[in-house]
């Protein structure tokens, strides 16, 4: 069967009988679809960036803690059998790296003013393999891999607030295992700058041995183990595996430790439908308007076609083909424009640093790389096509319900 049936050819020619109006509609579709697609890609990029940053710099994929280790960060609640756990983790091939850390709440002191901070004792070598915060050092250097140094790495925000620099000493006050207040001085060796200001002003890092000693903890006592998996998608199965193996430990996936990150995806999905829904609704009006004019203005012509023997089915086909052509032209140009700019964005990134403080609160880098998820394009395109057909239904109905004579006599 010939694809280019009479209806298809007629529809194509009809398009160019009133080029201005059809051209306008095509432009409209280009703009709407282009903007819509780009906005979706941009938001995808934004949320992906944020997730990636948080997982790489602060969260890891899995976290193992003592079951009672909570926000209070009580020093007693360390993992009892770290050596055994360590052995098992080392043998697991799907784990890329892991880092055991001591973690307590502490106070930083200067001139009688105190700042509440989150103190982490880390093993520099394991920590570097697990999280990439060491890449964010802007002044000085990261903790050295030699053990038991009095080194500390702090965030830029805290450094500014306390007015201290690399080389200065930092007095920290914490509560040790026996419940006594203990003061210890560390030497600032490095300052890191991470996009999240809140993180920056609270998280500080010291070598694990020195902290264990200060807190009177045994040498293999850690409060949390951060695990980085080779593949993020197996997080849930790993959680179940280890929970079964160690029922007396708390094992949490990143979705659990940072629920707001986990439902970011859901939020974006909502936004996708609201944003595109509103835009397409307004577009629907525009298409109905144009198609109605397109068709009603030719009602005499349709009357003639009917007299010549074209049945309702073929008229329906004719109108649908016209709609399809318009949508197809608009969509292909709009999508390719959006595609080009997304491609550009992927390679060069969109610099949003004018809003950097806002992104800093939001916790991601100011450079966004937009991208489309596999079904996004399909969703947008099918939404658009169904919108177009819904829009074509009403004018078609008006034409089909009238007889040929009525159409011939109708005055525009």
């Amino acid at each position: 069967m010939n694809f280019f049936t009479l209806e298809v050819r007629l529809a194509w020619r009809n398009l160019w009988r009133n080029p201005i109006r059809n051209f306008l509609l095509i432009c409209l579709i280009i703009i709407v679809l282009g903007f819509g697609t780009y906005a979706v890609a941009f938001l995808n990029g934004l949320s992906f960036q944020r997730l990636q940053d948080q997982l790489n710099y602060s969260l890891g994929h899995l976290k193992i803690t003592h079951p009672q280790f909570d926000q209070a960060k009580n020093v007693h609640n360390f993992i009892p059998n770290f050596s055994a756990v360590k052995g098992v983790l080392q043998r697991n091939a799907s784990i890329e790296a892991f880092s055991g850390r001591c973690n307590v709440r502490a106070l930083a002191q200067k001139n009688n003013r105190q700042w509440g901070i989150d103190l982490y004792g880390v093993d520099a070598k394991a920590e570097k393999q697990t999280l990439q915060l060491y890449q964010k050092i802007t002044q000085g250097k990261y903790l050295s891999e030699k053990s038991n140094q009095n080194e500390v790495v702090i965030g830029q925000s805290l450094a500014q607030k306390m007015n201290i620099r690399v080389g200065d000493s930092l007095i920290l006050q914490m509560i040790d295992k026996e419940g006594f207040i203990k003061t210890k001085t560390w030497q600032v060796v490095g300052i890191y700058k991470y996009v999240n200001q809140k993180f920056e002003s609270t998280h500080i890092f010291v070598p694990i041995e020195s902290l264990q000693k200060a807190l009177n903890l045994p040498t293999n006592a850690v409060h949390q183990i951060i695990i980085r998996l080779k593949d993020r998608n197996i997080t849930d199965t790993q959680v179940l595996d280890y929970q079964a193996k160690w029922p007396n430990l708390k094992i949490q996936s990143w979705q659990k430790t940072a629920p707001e990150l986990a439902y970011l995806d859901v939020l974006m999905e909502y936004f996708f439908w609201i944003f595109n829904g509103i835009i397409l609704f307004v577009l629907l009006m525009a298409i109905v308007n144009t198609m109605l004019m397109n068709i009603l203005e030719r009602s005499e012509e349709f009357g003639l076609l009917k007299i010549l023997g074209m049945n309702n089915g073929r008229i329906l086909k004719l109108i649908f083909w016209e709609t399809l052509f318009i949508v197809f032209l608009g969509a292909s140009i709009g999508l390719s424009l959006a595609g080009l700019s997304i491609y550009y964005g992927q390679n060069y990134g969109l610099d949003l640093s004018i809003y950097s403080a806002a992104w800093a609160g939001w916790g991601s880098s100011p450079i966004v790389y937009p991208f489309l998820k596999p079904y996004d394009l399909l969703k947008i395109t099918s939404l658009l096509i169904s919108t177009a057909f819904i829009a074509a239904l009403y004018p078609t109905y008006l034409i089909l319900q009238k007889t040929a004579l009525q159409l011939r006599n109708s005055n525009v």
Binding site: Q71, A72, M293
Partner: protein, 400 residues
Amino acid sequence: MSLLSVKLAWRNLWRNPRRTWLTVLPISLTIFLAVFLHAQQAGLENQILETLILPNFGHLQIQAKNTVTQDTLAVYLAHNQAVKSFTPRLENYGQIRFKTQIRNVALLGISPTSEANFSQLNEKITQGKYLDTPEKNQILISEGLANQLKINILDTIYIYHSISEKSTQSVCKVIVRGFIKLKSTEADENTVFIPITLMNLLFPSLSSTYLIQTKHSIPLENLASEMKKKLGTHYTIKTWPETAPDLAQMIQADQTAGWFLASIFYLLCGFNIFGTILMIVNERRQELAILKAIGMNTWKILQMLYNEIVMICVLGIFIGLLFVLPLVGYLEASPLPLSGVWGQSLQNMGFEPTLTFRLQASAIYLPTALMLFIMCLSAWYPRQIVRNLVINETLKNKVF
């Protein structure tokens, strides 16, 4: 403008009512969505200002550089016409001990009377009572902290502090007077409210910060620079965008996003208006040619067409406003509660989980003015057509 052209235009509109409504409705819809969007944005901005910025940072913050100049500041503020209310705060971190447990907490020194006035702290008490005046050794603690340490009302707590730079720590005995529920989970787990007089005794070398609520009529920057001039170099003055730059830019980013969405609406609507004008003119070429032939001049014909366009736009705007204003007005009075993911994420950011609205005059006249502007832009097309209309040719060429 003659009455005739208005009459003709009005009749023309209702010769093909379907087409008229099809143009009027998108205009109404655009106005509806634009006003709705702007009102929602203003609502969010207002919510950020009222619930996050004002109680936590104040519109302005003034800090004396040393403790001596502190009292003159209070006197100055009390007599300043532009200041609506103010309250001193002194924040520090420290340790508290309850029975055998020691915790690091944020100590927030407040003045009970002015704080109640400024941030309505007294209304956030969930258990027990608010601080008495004159102040005694009483504190309020956040509910999350109380639950974790299992503290009850009227329990005794010790606060560690140091009298001078060099001395070792000493303790101060206080009584828990009430619990306060704070919105942010983190703050709820480690905040202690202490009368500022006691705080000054505990940390004598620290000077307090004054949070100021200004009257809305005066621009913040002007007020800040005026105060800087008056107060001199002994004080640091900061406006809220300086103390909370991330929130200020979040508002800005939200506004940009809102304008992006709104401009798509306007664009769509502009195309729609233009499409209709195209139709109004094109399908009536013959009719216009006849009018021209029987002696109506170009300007008169244009007047008639323009009247039609203006009527359509005004009708559209009117209908849009007719629906959106009562809706937004209602929502402003009773905000929509949000549940599920949206609500949760707002709560995490420290907001009420509601969708609030605020109707400002600009939310109405901006979209309206823009629609009228688009209308004026598209008025160019009929002018070209009518001017270049060749009567003979047009009359001969029946469309079909």
